[in-house]
Symmetry: C2
Subunit: 228 residues, 2 copies
């Protein structure tokens, strides 16, 4: 490896180290509670060394958002999604829960920590609404496919509302697990079981009656006849 | 008002002030990040003044848990619950969402902030499992009623798993709202709409087919024939 390559690799490793430290701090202290100095202290760097990589806290925060949300979108893209619209929604849900379980710190940063309202404009123009790089847009696209294929009940037409409901259902499973799974108050069932019941129940609650009737006849969890 | 009464009232007001400050700090800094000194600073008291009311951080934390969880259980008890098992579950869900919306700081403390695993023993003995004072036990009791009344599908027999699913569904709606409602990335539907769809969808996904078929015939949201 040449000197240039080694320097590039070291630079990228340092960036990752800064980003990991910042993610943890944003989660525990909130956006306002974090300073560049605190991030530097956490990884035992001088503040000056950090400014080589990021101009300010806002830029650092942006980079973190961009990387983490892109990672989730990538997970969806690289997952082998079924063509059946209901099975696809089920897989989106279980892939999402799996992401939260594998990367709890990322998950806490992305979905359990309020972000400052300002400064999302750059991100918007590049990725917002593009299903390939925006995980929410991908979910909404998949919901719209299910609506167009006639999978849902007649009165279910709002892809935005359905997406937000499905998102909240899987978010509920993971975020409750992250915050409360060590709580001895509740006799917790295994996460896998809770995730499966949630996906089964919400999708059953959405699909139209003939699909359900067929389901009941066959006694099988298959709940859709595929895309039109 | 006599001197004694006034003193008692002042003492109780001070306790509430300490508890409110501690709740906010536990939410933003986590259990380990909070000291009695920090709580005192927040309300501009001397640390000594705080120790008059609470022996240590653990006692303060306990009192906060006891008060906040008791408040939720009280809300359930004071709400006029329907006798129909499915309608009752729906009302438990909407009462819970309403609680989270009215008391977001309480909600964040109770369900979005990890608690230390130790020291729940006192709480256990007094209230754990008693539906009148333990909100989770109340939910589980209501789920068991629905199972016993034959409202759910044949394969749904585990009241614990169903309770955890219903809890996660409403937790998903509120906690996502608390953490992400100012996020311009998503075209949020009104919270009321999201809450209604979640309760409708999860309960439909649980109930047995004849109830659903009846529902489809009538085109009405009524989804149960009441308690046996």
């Amino acid at each position: 490896m040449g000197v240039k390559e080694r320097r590039e690799r070291e630079k990228s490793e340092t960036r990752d180290k800064i980003l990991d430290a910042a993610r943890e701090l944003f989660v525990t202290e909130g956006y306002d509670g974090v300073s560049m100095r605190r991030v530097a202290e956490k990884i035992e760097y001088s503040p000056t060394a950090i400014y080589v990589h990021f101009a300010d806290k806002q830029e650092l925060f942006h980079e973190l958002c961009q990387q983490d949300y892109a990672r989730l979108a990538e997970v969806f893209q690289s997952s082998n999604m079924p063509t059946d619209p209901i099975e696809r929604l089920k897989q989106i849900g279980s892939t999402y829960i799996d992401f939260g379980m594998r990367f709890p710190n990322h998950y806490k940063f992305m979905f359990m920590t309020p972000h400052p309202a300002h400064g999302f404009d750059d991100l918007d123009r590049e990725t917002h609404g593009n299903p390939e790089v925006d995980a929410y847009a991908f979910l909404k696209w998949a919901v719209q496919q299910a609506i167009d294929a006639g999978c849902f009940r007649e009165d279910i037409r709002d892809a935005e509302l359905v997406s937000q409901t499905l998102w909240a259902s899987v978010h509920g499973v993971i975020s409750l697990d992250i915050a409360k799974c060590t709580d001895p108050w509740v006799n917790w069932r295994p996460l896998k079981q809770r995730a499966e019941m949630m996906l089964d129940v919400t999708l059953r609650g959405l699909v139209r009656a003939p699909l359900l009737a067929k389901d009941a006849r066959n006694g099988a969890p298959e709940s859709s006849e595929g895309e039109k």
